[in-house]
């Protein structure tokens, strides 16, 4: 979700009431909004509800967007806050399920071996299971920083906290997830290799 001139043009047009521009903006941002919401709520239907509320808030408030700031950070801020609210109001779920397989994705994965395909599904299941034990803010920080790949400063801006708070949440989340991975999903964390040659290109 890199900000660029095209985004700004779309934002301006949508803020002026252009529905087609807003449709295009939705199309560009929806997958990352749903994915971030899904990784925080752990449920696709909840994630879709969160995404719907995010885009409706954007529709109503686009004219307030400051073009000197990063649009994606603003979208993440709304998404994460809505997802945390959803998580808190709904309470913990029982067993959380990985995303249903997308036929298009299955086609793309056809070239990969069976082990690779299983690995992703198990990885997602492990994350949903282990992340359910994290505090909502820790989970949100981990999702934005580690899964979505945002910079620490962007996460801090999105959550309205300091960078040191982000680092602290991230440290605690990593510690809990690492312990959970080693305890509950040892197969996902491979044994250290015995022939470590390092620096291999």
């Amino acid at each position: 979700m890199r900000p660029d001139q095209d985004d700004l043009e779309l934002i301006r047009a949508a803020a002026a009431g252009d529905r087609r521009a807003f449709d295009e903006l939705i199309r560009l941002k929806r997958e990352r909004v749903v994915r971030a919401a899904y990784q925080i709520t752990g449920d696709l239907e909840d994630a879709l509800d969160v995404a719907q509320s995010v885009f409706l808030k954007l529709w109503r408030g686009l004219e307030r967007f400051d073009p000197h700031r990063r649009f994606d950070t603003w979208v993440y801020r709304i998404t994460v806050n809505a997802a945390i609210d959803m998580l808190r109001s709904r309470g913990p779920r029982g067993a959380m399920q990985p995303l249903p397989e997308d036929p298009a994705e299955l086609g793309r994965a056809a070239g990969l071996d069976q082990e690779e395909s299983l690995d992703r599904r198990r990885l997602q299941q492990a994350f949903l299971h282990l992340a359910a034990r994290l505090a909502p803010r820790q989970r949100a920080v981990f999702v934005m920083r580690e899964i979505e790949g945002l910079a620490t400063a962007e996460v801090a801006e999105a959550l309205g906290v300091t960078e040191s708070t982000v680092r602290n949440h991230l440290l605690q989340a990593r510690r809990a997830l690492r312990a959970g991975l080693q305890r509950d999903y040892p197969g996902l964390v491979p044994e250290p290799p015995h022939d470590d040659d390092g620096g291999r290109e």
């Binding site: 690492r178 080693q182 491979p190």
Partner: protein, 162 residues
């Protein structure tokens, strides 16, 4: 960094890789079991970075777009309908104001004529002799007013049903 195995330098910088480089590293790691192992050795929770490319089913995304559009249509419809009563009430107020104003302009001395026709209730030399305010158990207020020889009793009671 096109499809090369992860080296120590990349692993050490993994957290701070630029978006494009990170994308390439993860794309390679999706396909390469050895590099996944290296990533997990560096930090087991780095494995979850691979979920950043998890695809959301396109059917769900299309459903989302449809839901958003339906909701915006509904909100705009409500806004449009909500605006009409405000316009109508404003127009009706203006019309009423214009009618009253026009009436007063045509008969500028009408209120003065009506005031002259009112009976004079109290002469200038007849003072108010007594005002007594009484309270009743039902919280009604009674005002007993003497004007000259005339006694006027006023009862103020919200519960009084006439």
């Amino acid at each position: 960094m096109k499809d090369r195995h992860l080296d120590r330098d990349v692993l050490a910088r993994f957290e701070n890789l630029r978006a494009q480089e990170r994308h390439e590293v993860l794309a390679h790691t999706q396909r390469c079991g050895d590099c996944r192992r290296r990533l997990a050795e560096a930090c087991p929770s780095y494995l979850f970075a691979l979920l950043g490319s998890e695809a959301i089913p396109s059917g769900a995304l299309d459903r989302l777009s449809a839901r958003i559009n339906d909701e915006i249509d509904r909100l705009e419809d409500v806004n449009r309908r909500g605006r009409w009563p405000a316009w109508w009430s404003m127009a009706a107020s203006l019309l009423l104001g214009a009618i009253i104003g026009g009436f007063l302009l045509v008969q500028p001395d009408a209120p003065a004529v009506r005031r002259a026709q009112l009976p004079d209730l109290r002469g200038p030399d007849e003072p108010i002799r007594a005002i007594e305010v009484l309270s009743t158990p039902s919280e009604a207020k009674v005002l007993d007013l003497m004007v000259g020889d005339t006694e006027i009793v006023m009862i103020f009671d919200e519960e009084l049903d006439i």
